[in-house]
Each structure stands twice: as structure tokens, then as C-alpha cells.
């Protein structure tokens, strides 16, 4: 039987390298994907998700098991992403042209197999607009949406990750949804 994340984390606290490697293998894809969804830059997502694993290694001893390991780890990761975004906000305004992932349109990433070309174009345009709207959401709103939709996290877990109340998470989701709906309705 595979050891539980929480048990592995305890072993990491005792500097068990094998346990750490196992946790990295389990979470690397999810961590990178979530970081990329928030940061929208592959290099930054790689760096920040790796930093989250380093923090996990350093802080494993402070995991008390009051929440699930995944919630605790996502909290570290999302905080790093939000910090990174805050610190690099001014810089991104200058180097937006160099942003490797923004040069790739949502259409490049999303080949949609639809038979009717007109319908296909319209749907792809909507998707593109929706993608841009997600990019423009406030970081916490976006994080709430991503944790909900991508990671299937419960409201109380998102609240722990974002260090806010469940009611605030609901507000984040509602506001995000209102923004996204407006985008779709405009089309």
C-alpha cells in the first residue's frame, strides 16, 4: 500500500530523502500546473513550484496534520505565486513582449474539433476571450477559481489555502464568475 502524504511529510521532517522524492513525484505536475495557471509563464511556474518543494523540505516539521497535506502544500505554493506576482507586477509591464506563454494564443493551446467552421470560430473566439478574462482576474479570484475547477478543492480547503473565510472564497468565486459571464455575454 502506498504511504499517505501526511506520513511522507513526517518522514521528510526527519530528513528522509526517499520520502521527499516520493512527494515531489506525486505533486510535481499539479504544483507546476497550478503555478502556471496563476503566473502564466512556464519558467516562473517551474521556479516557483520548485521553491515550494524546497519550502516543503525546510518546513515539513511545522506540518501538524490539522489539515490535509495537499491543503498545507497548496497554501505554500499559492502564497509563493501571489508573492511572485506582486513583486513582478511592475516588471511585467516592461517585459510583456518577452513573456513566452502570452505569445502563444489560447487557440494554439486549444484545438477544438468542431465540424461547423463558423460555429468553431465563434466558440474559439469565446474561449479566447474567456482565457483573457481569466488572466485579468484578481490573483486571489483566479487562485480560487483554479483551485476549485482544476484541483477540485472544497470551499473550506480553498479558504485554508488563501487564509480567508469560506464566505470570502464564495465572494471570490462569485466575483470571478460575474466577470467571466460578462465576457461571454459580450460576444
Amino acid at each position: 500500500m502506498e504511504p499517505a502524504d501526511e506520513a511522507l511529510c513526517e518522514r521528510v521532517a526527519r530528513r528522509d530523502e526517499e520520502a521527499f522524492n516520493l512527494l515531489v513525484s506525486r505533486y510535481q505536475e499539479r504544483a507546476y500546473r497550478l503555478a502556471w495557471s496563476i503566473l502564466r509563464n512556464a519558467e516562473d511556474a517551474r521556479d516557483v513550484s520548485q521553491e515550494a518543494f524546497i519550502r516543503l523540505y525546510e518546513m515539513a516539521g511545522s506540518f501538524r496534520g490539522r489539515s490535509k497535506f495537499s491543503t498545507w502544500f497548496y497554501r505554500i505554493l499559492v502564497n509563493l505565486c501571489l508573492d511572485h506576482k506582486r513583486k513582478h507586477k511592475w516588471w511585467q509591464l516592461w517585459v510583456r513582449d518577452d513573456d513566452d506563454d502570452r505569445s502563444e494564443t489560447i487557440l494554439d493551446r486549444q484545438p477544438a474539433p468542431v465540424s461547423d467552421p463558423v460555429d468553431k470560430l465563434s466558440r474559439e473566439e469565446t474561449l479566447k476571450a474567456l482565457g483573457s478574462a481569466v488572466d485579468r482576474l484578481a490573483p486571489r479570484q483566479r487562485a480560487a477559481v483554479l483551485l476549485r475547477v482544476q484541483e477540485d478543492m472544497a470551499t473550506y480547503e480553498i479558504a485554508r489555502v488563501l487564509k480567508c473565510s469560506e464566505a470570502t472564497v464564495r465572494v471570490h468565486l462569485h466575483r470571478a464568475l460575474a466577470t467571466l459571464k460578462k465576457t461571454v455575454e459580450k460576444r
Binding site: 522524492n21 515531489v24 513525484s25 510535481q28 505536475e29 507546476y32 500546473r33 502556471w36 495557471s37 512556464a42 511556474a45 517551474r46 520548485q50 521553491e51 518543494f53 524546497i54 523540505y57 525546510e58 506563454d101 502563444e104 489560447i106 493551446r109 486549444q110 474561449l127 479566447k128 474567456l130 482565457g131 478574462a133 481569466v134 477559481v145 483554479l146 476549485r148 475547477v149 482544476q150 477540485d152 478543492m153 472544497a154 470551499t155 473550506y156 480547503e157 464564495r170 468565486l173 462569485h174 470571478a176 464568475l177 467571466l180 459571464k181 461571454v184
Partner: protein
């Protein structure tokens, strides 16, 4: 009321639950306005293809990713640990001790000369440029006592004449 089926709402909307689980979640939604509201928000998000719009992250070479992570972790450990090692710690302590000794000894040497100039005098000296000529000024006082100064003007007139 039973526990909120938070983590089952997305699978519920995607039709991924078993009939029994689906029934249980549906019953809960009828009774719980919070979960019902959450479900509506989620349905809208999923219907609007938010997950697709967010897109797929660019591919990563995971072996390289882990190798980089290992490298960063090793670097971090070295950085954190070097000053805790006995040698650097002893070296730093010795250096600090020597610096302290030099400072104390230097102060002692200066005070032994007895030629210390007060800070107010230094400031005045910088402003007036007089301190460097202090000894001359003192001697001028002596000359005045001997009535030499008073006769200097007369001597100069005689030389011109």
C-alpha cells in the same frame, strides 16, 4: 445536517459520482443553500469551459525538473549551513575579538599622549583655521607682554622711511 459535500460538487456536476452518491449530494443540495449556491457557481464555471480557457501548461521534462530541484536544494543547504560550521564560527569570533582589541588599544594610546583635542575645538578649528596656528597665537601673547608687538608698527615705519 450531514457534512457539506464540497469536494464532491465538481464530480457531481461532471456526472462522475455513483448513483447512490449522486442521490446523497442532490438531497444535501435541496437542504443546504450554501452548497446550492456553490453548485450554481461551479456549474457556470464548468459550462463556460473555464478549465479549457485556462489551458494546458507547456510541457516539462520531469527528470530535468527534479534534477534542478535537487541542485537548488543542495545549494540552499550549503548556504544555510556554512556559517554554522565550527571553523567559520571560530574564525568570525576570533576576528571580532581582534577588532575589539585593536579598538580598545588604539583608544588607550591616544589618551596616553595627553594631546587630545575636544570635539568643540575641532569644529571651531575647522571653521576658523586657527587651531593649527595655536602655538603661534600663544607666543604672540608673550610678545605683547614684552611690548614687542606695540613697537612693530614703529619698526615698519622706520624701514619705509
Amino acid at each position: 445536517m450531514a457534512r457539506h459535500p464540497d469536494s464532491e460538487l465538481v464530480p457531481y456536476l461532471r456526472g462522475e459520482l455513483s448513483p447512490a452518491e449522486r442521490e446523497r449530494v442532490a438531497r444535501h443540495l435541496e437542504e443546504c443553500p450554501d452548497c446550492k449556491q456553490d453548485t450554481e457557481v461551479l456549474r457556470e464555471l464548468l459550462d463556460n469551459n473555464v478549465a479549457r480557457a485556462i489551458g494546458e501548461a507547456p510541457a516539462v521534462n520531469w527528470a530535468r525538473y527534479r534534477a534542478e530541484l535537487r541542485e537548488k536544494l543542495d545549494r540552499r543547504r550549503v548556504r544555510v549551513v556554512w556559517w554554522r560550521r565550527p571553523m567559520p564560527l571560530a574564525l568570525s569570533a576570533s576576528l571580532a575579538g581582534v577588532l575589539l582589541l585593536v579598538a580598545v588599544w588604539g583608544t588607550h594610546q591616544v589618551s596616553k599622549n595627553g594631546e587630545l583635542i575636544g570635539p568643540d575645538e575641532v569644529v571651531m578649528g575647522q571653521e576658523l583655521g586657527l587651531l593649527q596656528d595655536l602655538r603661534t597665537v600663544e607666543r604672540l601673547d608673550l610678545l605683547e607682554d614684552l611690548e614687542v608687538l606695540r613697537n612693530l608698527d614703529g619698526l615698519a615705519t622706520e624701514q619705509q622711511g
